[in-house]
Amino acid sequence: MKVDSSNKQKVLIVDDTPENILILMETLKNEYAIVAAKNGEKALQLANADPVPDIILLDIMMPGMDGYEVCERLKANDKTKDIPVIFITAKTEEEDEIKGFNLGAVDYITKPISPPKVQARVRIHLALKNARKMLEMQNEELIEAAKLKEDVDGIMRHDLKSPLNSIISLPQIILEDKSLDPEHAKSLKIIEEAGFRMLNMINLSLDLFKMERGVYPFQPVSVDILKIIKKIVSETEGVARTKNILFNIMNGENNITDDDSFHVMGEELLCYSVLSNLIKNAVEASPEGETVSITLDDKENGSISVHNQGVVPEEIRDKFFEKYVTSGKSGGTGLGTYSAKLIAETQGGQINLHTSEKDGTTITICLPLDQSQSSKDLGFQTDKKIATQQEDEETQLERLPPLHVLIVDDDAFNIKILEKFLNHPNIVTDSSENGKVALQKLDSTEYDLVLMDMEMPVMDGLTAVDEIRKREEQRHKGTEAQRDKGDGLSVKLNRLPVIALSAHDDPESRQKCLEVGFTDFLTKPVDKMRLLNTLLRFINTDTDHEAFKSSQSIEDELETDTRQLGEDKEDKYFVELDGDLRDLIPDFLDNKRTDLESIQEALGSKDFDGLRKMGHKLKGSFHMYGFTNISNICHEIEEAAKEQDEKVIENNLEVLRDYLDNVVIEYIGGN
């Protein structure tokens, strides 16, 4: 029956009069594949066939189910609701037509049938249908493209950060080697700087997007603008030299001295970005052989003016800070001044342009001064105070009390870097590859501080810190009960400082970390100074912590025996199972190893549906046997298979293998 229907569009004709069907078939058969029905039931059946008809010509007056009802049913069915329906009727009354249109018909053909008219109408409605389909497809593509763009942003932000970790951290580590050739040291500095610049660019691209929407989480701190300007000037000097341009940095009326600093409230990265933009633009816009002046002023707000002798063309002066406005610069995006304005305003400041043939161009940014930096409300201060601060830090580091730090991270390389950073005679570090192992260590050994990665297999950072806090509360209740018996004084709950290390730096992640019990939050990649500063903050100020240690050490002494036991068992996983299962377990473990091989194979052939099913099955199996932790890993495989995330599956598979190889089972009860 299937006659060359493959490329022709399909028309369904529904009419209870065979003559009418015949006429319509003759009219349309050259252009279309035709199917016909003599009643409503048959029509619905044919409309539901695969592929569905492209258009339906439907007689209204039929015995049994009439055309209106057929139409109504077609529209109620998702599969057939989009097929255009043209009513064929002897009726010409307006009321009937309206009823038909209300039911979703696209047109009417009146009897007696005029073949050319029918041909024309069918053609028009099929063309309309195709056009609509095309639009829908285009719309879907656009939505997809928009989503892709967002995804790429997300990927950039996260995935680029990991390799940057090495680019930024390794030079710092190598530079500690004092025997290094100065030329090499200089090159390393350049690599490190470039790494930081790239990190900043990644961060800024998304931050600008947030600023536009007013959702940027601004966290002002004291920032030394002068230090930033000096850095930018040194970066820009090369370009400036080719144009014979000199820089002149002024403190109000006076020249700047080495001892000066200028503190405003803002974010260092944002200040760097906006000033770098303005200074580089000034150098580009300045005529050759002139001077670019940067003037700092602390009269009311902290104002920074960047001046050059170039003139902004009149036609863009009014919209100088608008998006996509650019002039005379090939390859300029027109986003520079726009983002400058955005950043200034996000930091609670303003930006202004003053330009004229006579005076050249001055762009002034005002930012709130840091009031705390000086008793006279001045942004300026001499370097003396800074020097003492730095000295303080150094002496603090020298006088650092003996510290035992636990690093928890599943990436051995990250651990290595953190250990290098913490290389200090008074710091002893220890490491665990996941939250679970960390908890075991915390049970057996005393630590002063924990650095904890967020995303780890077996047990992630959030779960681990939650567990740490729970245990502290329990212990606290215990000690309080003891003390109450003695002198009746209540004891303050002491908390071990646990610092989160996370690749995510959005406020939600931060908030979540602090809520669940982390003491502080460091964004990866971590640099040495930031790490040590955080360390100092929690060690020196935390006197309560000392009390905690002493109360804890009493308990620790009591637990010495169990502790030593725990130490030897580091690389093994322990699980307690129902003793009844003793005889089943060897086969069970063997079968699960085979299952893991099947998963590996499915992963190789990218059979995600199979992976999902196997993950699902294993989840139930492990759980019922009592391997509850591992059941979660299987759940992750199942979920990752839905996302087609091979990496996550691969990682979890590795965890499962390792687990099966190293699991030590203790049977409880049974025979």
Binding site: D578, D580, L581, K617, G620, M624
Partner: protein, 125 residues
């Protein structure tokens, strides 16, 4: 002494079947027949009329839903109670809906073996 009930367990996970058979028979209240094949379960059920059939949902060849429907269509098997056991539903789902989801008796593979034994017990009360 109470009468020993005959249970059919249908699941494509043989390890799970072995575990459940062991634990259920240990209670002394049940005799458990395991099968990994849904259509075989239908045949066996017609011949042996078990007191309860515990069915996994997601199985190759014939899924649990189809097995249950086939059983309900036959005069011989339509009155045999069926308990679905699946990790598609969570322990919490089951607790919240008091064990009946969409008109079906459900138990979760996210619960403990003892939970399942208790559940089966309750089906006979």
């Amino acid at each position: 002494m109470a009468e020993v009930k005959k249970l059919f367990m249908v699941d494509d996970d043989e390890d799970l079947l072995a575990l459940l058979k062991l634990k259920l028979e240990k209670t002394g209240k049940y005799q458990v027949v395991n099968t990994t094949d849904g259509s075989k379960a239908v045949h066996l059920a017609t011949e042996e009329s078990p007191d309860l059939i515990v069915l996994d949902i997601d199985m190759p060849h014939m899924d649990g839903g189809t097995v249950a429907n086939t059983l309900s269509e036959s005069e011989h098997t339509k009155d045999i109670p069926v308990l679905f056991l699946s990790s598609l539903v969570s322990k919490e789902d089951v607790a919240q809906s008091k064990g009946v989801i969409g008109g079906r008796n459900m138990a979760s593979k996210g619960g403990s073996v003892q939970d399942l034994i208790d559940r089966i017990e309750s089906m006979f009360q």
